[in-house]
Symmetry: C2
Subunit: 527 residues, 2 copies
């Protein structure tokens, strides 16, 4: 059994702190040394991806210290305990099994009398059968017509991950004959969200998936009713249009008001649930079950790498260690995810949840306050768009924000145009390359307004093309990075008690059980 | 003439630093005192909006110190110099006139021999005439058919602002009979961006607006050609489908390849250009020129408030001062914008540019390095979505992130559903109210995992409904806040030299004029 210790009690962490500012990114990325680093400081990932950390503030000494830290923190053992079914989510006393939804990594995991791998595979098989029948026109609306649209009703992890993956693959699917149905998403309790989506689709030919593990998420149940009202208004029966993705014990599970119900369980947290039925149902309907299987297969490949003890063969662990070094030794507070791929436009929003909800904690897994910084603020937009926006601050602002670039050699659609001797795709790649060097090396200028200090660290994940498999690998890479960082910070990365208080107070507001500021603010809104 | 001094040379700033942590948000927001603060710490804005700063770390003493700071920094005088036509953008030696695009505030501004107010009004009139003719079917495609879609081709300020405003008003326009044409946006040089937009529209019935002040923006010119190829492929003449928004001296201006050209000038920076032809053309085509006029009128109302010397009658100045207090006295590095309105889903992305590109600088307006922090990292997503995502870190993380909430009493579309005795809109409002109190007051719990420390400051802008006028006021509020913060930090908020180096290096990459890391990274992408 691994020992769970606070980061600041580890000798190897104390050793690491001695390397604060020992490496100047500007220096090491300049000249031939820079070229050597790009060649050497690269770790292969699965599915044609590679993690390049040449522009990070590390050298062989720092890497050696990070190796020691990984060993002393028993990262590999902790991951093994996790995938072998230990109760890693201590707060909620739950197993953490999102890896198992994409592949068997260790021992059979039996919980609640069930082999959990069989359970996940079984649900995915049910979803695949259902999706195939919808695509074949065997499951239809009340008038016997094919469904053309699928609408996911969910919030948080039931929305951000599946939505990011859908957007990431929509054009790939259209280009590769895998596009089966358009998907839309309703998440916000703002009534304009549901109303706008409903106004933009053909309700009579739409399937709606209600996604809520507990079956009690207020936003989702409210939006479900919103949708049912719209279906009824068209003279249709909601039972012909609604699906549920929920836990077997939820109030939605035994309900006859659904065409079908697919199950998730308590061992996969919302923000990790894209690999479960939460992502499976909507993505299998949109792109076909095969495409969803490819996503899972890519993720499973990345998970295998994450089990390697050698950090130079474990990109997620290395990425995590460098991040902790940046957060706790170098003192950087934020991090930006910058995909040079319009298809990944909502991927940063998903990672924002995955990262900030997992590791935005001040107490360790035993409920004791920690005396060090934990998860960073994470934000991002696709490049090149960001270059014409917030990059100004990243280049010349008073704080240093570590950057995580993502880029692909090829576009998804393949249509392109040659201007000034290069395609748009080449221009896109040239821009990410240029930015990395600009951030790292800067540029001297006697006009200080045009001076770039440089020394701004980044990493890049380079891929051939964004496909279902490489997308799955990318997703798993970040999930595993977050997991390892949680291990290092000694956090429970798998609960989210910080979302509870607001829910409680909102109920009090709606029940008019308020006083003080709560009442005064309610009055502002005439609640 | 106002004197431009660094923040840390101001006596009133030194005085302000003495109030560090003098106010506990938790304490002052609890009990009757909290209710009193909500009532008292509210500043009316224009167009039915109000800025409430009760949950901020301020009291009457701090406010008094902020008043002194506003006076010593001569904020009102500096704004007056700006709108009267001084060369505020010192780096580029330019006037800063986005306010003048929405109303005359001071003296006539004559530049380049032209009355600039007349110029802006004249361009907007040309746009209005053009848009009215398109809507009336007097300007049509080559086959004499009406245009149904308008596509903006632009990046940065030519994209984020207009796009955010379009999304903000799309449902309002549809509900209020003001929806004329669907708008789409192509920004990224990623060829999949243009290809996907083109695949989703009816090119034969689409107008394309090429937006580039200089007429040389690589992304935009590339995407223009991409679009022209698609038009030609349909057997159509691009000259019947293309418009330009550019400066009078740009290569696009005299080009006969456009149906029409509308002009902007060097005195309105990209990120402030939503009020100019950059926003005017696409929004007038989408919603009609009257709606665009309402946006400008709302912004002009907010601008008038920003000219008030009394900070209690100047919400933008007060917001700016509190922000500087938080950044430079309390030491908070990031800030989150959290609109409880799905329509404002991309408003934070626009503010991210407006704020981070304006004030993400390390040198003052004279090109001298400053010894204090400047612009914060800004990010945000709409509530309630964010509640199920990154709010965990905001509530229980190890850093404090000041929060800027926005909320409206009424929805835009008006369709709603009653669940458990309340509408979705009431639930939405109840949630923002609950979050403010949860962040401020926290909740004691012996289980430290469920403990909320509170003390997390926020403000909220409360409105009746998101309309063109209130949206304009909101836009101007933030623009003016950023301007005042730039004055306080003694920055030139109106240039963006930090975006130049990347452009330069990208050109070198595409020309294969690389060595070192630049070459090695180019090789990774096989450029």
């Amino acid at each position: 059994m691994a020992e769970w210790k606070n980061l600041d009690t580890l000798k190897s962490f104390q050793a690491l702190t001695r390397f604060k500012d020992s490496v100047s990114v500007k220096e090491v990325m300049t000249g031939d040394q820079g070229a050597r680093r790009v060649a050497e400081y690269s770790v292969p990932m699965s599915n044609g991806l590679a993690y390049n950390f040449a522009p990070k503030q590390v050298d062989d000494q720092v890497l050696s210290a990070l190796k020691d830290l990984a060993r002393e923190a028993e990262l590999t053992d902790k991951f093994a305990e996790l995938y072998n079914g230990a109760v890693i989510n201590t707060g909620e006393k739950r197993l953490v099994l999102h890896h198992l939804a994409r592949g068997q990594m260790g021992k059979d995991v039996i919980a609640d009398g069930v082999n959990k791998r069989d359970f996940y595979v079984g649900e995915q098989k049910k979803i695949a059968d259902f999706a195939n029948k919808v695509h074949a026109g065997e499951i239809t609306n009340g008038a016997g017509e094919k469904f053309t649209t699928v609408v996911q009703i969910g919030i948080g992890g039931s929305d951000l991950g599946p939505r990011a993956l859908y957007i990431a693959l929509e054009n790939w699917a259209k280009t590769n004959g895998a596009f089966k149905m358009e998907a839309r998403f309703i998440s916000n309790v703002d009534p304009d969200d549901a109303a706008a989506v409903l106004a933009s689709i053909d309700v009579a030919h739409s399937l709606f998936i209600v996604v809520s593990k507990s079956g009690t998420t207020l936003e989702t149940l409210t939006n479900e009713q919103f949708v049912k009202d719209a279906i009824i208004k068209e003279g249709l029966d909601p039972a012909n249009h609604m699906l549920a993705v929920t836990s077997e014990t939820s109030p939605l599970a035994g309900n006859s008001g659904y065409l079908a119900a697919f199950f998730m369980d308590d061992y996969i947290g919302g923000r990790y649930s894209s690999s479960s039925a939460v992502g499976g149902a909507v993505l299998s309907l949109a792109f076909g079950p095969d495409v969803f299987e490819q996503i899972l297969a890519g993720a499973a490949e990345a998970d295998k790498l994450a089990a390697n003890e050698d950090i130079m063969k474990n990109p997620a662990m290395l990425d995590a260690l460098i991040g902790v070094y940046e957060r706790n030794v170098l003192g950087y507070e934020s991090t930006a995810v910058l995909p040079y791929s319009q298809a990944l436009s909502r991927f940063p929003a998903h990672l924002q949840q995955a990262d900030m909800e997992s590791n935005g904690k001040s107490v360790n897994r035993f409920g004791e306050p920690v005396a060090y910084q934990t998860g960073p603020v994470l934000f991002g937009e696709p490049g090149t768009n960001g270059q014409h926006s917030f990059y100004q601050l990243l280049h010349q602002g008073t704080v240093i924000v570590p950057l995580q670039f993502i880029g692909f050699k090829d576009s998804q659609i393949g249509t392109d145009v040659i201007i000034e001797g290069s395609t748009s795709q080449k221009k896109l790649c040239a821009n990410v390359v240029a930015q990395i060097v600009a951030f790292a090396c800067g540029k001297e200028d006697t006009d200080k307004n045009k001076h770039f200090e440089g020394g701004r660290p980044s990493s890049i994940i380079v891929g051939e093309k964004l496909t279902p498999a490489s997308l799955g690998a990318l997703l798993a890479h970040y999930e595993n990075k977050i997991m390892f960082q949680g291990f290092l910070w000694n956090l429970n990365s798998f609960d989210q008690e910080g979302v509870q208080l607001g829910k409680l107070l909102a109920k009090r507001v709606l029940a008019h059980e308020t006083d003080g500021a709560l009442k005064a603010l309610s009055d502002l809104f005439e609640i």
